[in-house]
Amino acid sequence: METLEHIIAEHSFFAGLESYYTNLLTGCASNVRFDAGTYIFKEGEEANEFYLIRTGKVALEIFAPQRKPIMLETLGEGEVLGWSWLLPPYQWRFHAHAVETVRAIALDGKCLRTKCEENHDLGYEILKRFAHIMEQRLEATRFQLLDVYRVGR
Amino acid sequence: MTETVNQYVLENTDFQRLLDALIKRGYQVLGPTVRDGAIVYDVVESLSDFPAGWTDEQEAGRYRLRRRNDGALFGYVVGPQSWKKYLHPAEVRLLSAERSGQTFRILNNEPAPPRRAFLGVRGCELAAIAVQDRVLQGDRYRDPIYAARREGIFIVAVNCTQAAPTCFCTSMGTGPRVRGSYDLALTELVGPGKHEFVIEAGSDAGAEVLAELAPTPAPSVASEAVCQEAEAAVERAASQMQRRMDTTGIRDLLYANFDHPRWDNVAQRCLTCANCTMVCPTCFCTTVEEVSDVTGTHAERWRKWDSCFTQNFSYIHGGSVRSSAKSRYRQWMTHKLASWMDQFGSSGCVGCGRCITWCPVGIDITEEVRAIQETPASSKESSHGNP
């Protein structure tokens, strides 16, 4: 049976991290599950954790007055959900809605923040990985903004 | 070349007989004539149709006719028209169709083009015909409209004995001596008390016509002196050439200088009026227009000359790809001098200089090339073309 430690060590997001650090992270981790239709977190709530999605699909949503909830994008198996825990004001920007039943590893962000402040080497490793994710999401978002399939100008 | 071609002398007074011989053989003879202040091509039937004693003064953005002090028939250089007027017409109907219930029927009623003779084809023009032959008959598909008009053309070529300031055929290897396929070639010699043509055949059809001109008074075999005089006259034309284009590595040069600031420079002058493409003897772009009657029972498709300078030339849903004047001038010049080589194995330019003469603001293609050659942003080989 796969242990938490094993899952974290094998996850692509943590590839290349020293085992000392993966042990540390395991200490902040737990297995979680969200039923389809439930919200993993809501916009405005305090952001204290992030998730490695193992199975299922999560939709990032935003509510606007007079409109139904807008689905911005979906994240699936293997992806990392949430980075608002990393930088102040530590507040979620969007809703995370489990579109299908989601199984994930939850990592205690509050705990990890403290450890990163104490150990800047760990902090740098974590920030590098999140920077890469943000870069990919930014490029995808810019591509999405172009609305390439729209007809005309 | 070991084969010597006999050259003959045809007196100007006998020139009409050449015309008659062609007309008798069923050719519609097309040649130069004066109209609207220019020397254009039209049907010629008699000597009086020719621009005898006229010449053209050409410079960038300037064309005027001026009287000569002799009666030379070919004492001009090139006019605004080229032979593509007949081979690749400005307007031609592709098809005519009529509705029949839910379907349509194409009516095979396109008239066949007449048999034609071109009288007065310059070296650059002969080269241009060969260039269009390659584009319209020698590639993956064959244009039947061009093919039908091209087949059986009788060409009487004329060696130039003077050059206009806008000419640069020597740079492009297309003149002033004609080279290529022709039926007859003439060099006109005019002087005090003399007006004759040194004439030679370039094909069996040409030899046959020449033979008919043999009965008295006969075109006599040209003497050594007359042949040399003709040579010298053509040499003189070559030495008069004022403009040059250095075509060494020009393909890679233009591909590598897509972002050269010179394009912005020319864009400030170019009006995108498309004159250059209209007068250019090798430009071949066309568009297709739909024509239908009010009842909607009859429809026609017409093919018309088009120009890459127009705003809509590169339109695809959403807008035009080449929106700016800069991009359109760059497209034309790069196609003409560079891409054409990859597409068809030769330059698209024959050095006739028409684009320089007929540009209302006098843009000079040789000057634009030189400007980029002198300050290349990049002269290294680019991957722009085929790898």
């Binding site: 699909k57 591509f143 007809v151 | 169709a97 598909y141 039947p144 071949f284 891409s339 790898p387």
Partner: protein
Amino acid sequence: MTMATAATTDPMLPQPYSVRQVIKETADTFTLTLEPPNGAGGNRFQPGQFSMLWVFGVGELPISISGDPAERDRLVYTVRSVGQATLALVSREVGDAVGVRGPFGTGWPVAEAEGRDVLVIAGGIGLAPLRPVIYEVLHNREKYGRLVVLYGARSPRDVLYRKELAAWGRQRETQVLVTVDYGGLSWRGHVGVVTTLFKYARLQPARSLAFACGPEIMMRFVARDLETHGFARENIYLSMERNMKCGIGFCGHCQYGPHFICKDGPIFPYDRMRPLLEKYEL
């Protein structure tokens, strides 16, 4: 190397094909099935080729063939109504005639894909010229490796060939993933640009060919990402588009650098396209 119609037929003369069926795929996109005059068979085409379709008295357009190459008795086209001519085309009724010239152009290098995995990436209407590839691979399954179809549409309402996508996904060694740029409440699928699907594609880039078709910007993002995921440039193919008036290399409108999209393309390998794609207003 393509052959136009028979050597004696003028490639500028349309044949009157007859509309057999019109299917409404989405609000503005329709699939037309055309049958040749006199029920003639032999309508062969390479996946990726296009025809010039003529509406009597209205106009003519280049439209990619989107049908099954094995069905020789018909030609199928999926057309998006974006202007006067396309509107006239999709408004045809059963029995109406549509003039057809072609097929023209180069096709997707399907033969080269034999023995390899095939990755098909489509954006919007770009799925239409790729559908013949999917049919070809599924009809000759043992000749090819894995087939992965990644399809991005604007919104759930713009997804083409829904039922077929589901059916294809059920074939062996075949993976079909669909995403939309803008989701909807009832959409339970992926939301995000088509490049976000790459990470889920199960194939080996080293032994794959990728065929991409969609808006030019989309193809640029796609090609770049494919390279990041281990695809060699010469194994990525794009379908390019430019204005066309003749389809046979004479009108000059479709030139892209030195290439005539109509006869040197529309399918090109990415290594040849890459230096051109970045040039503004080429």
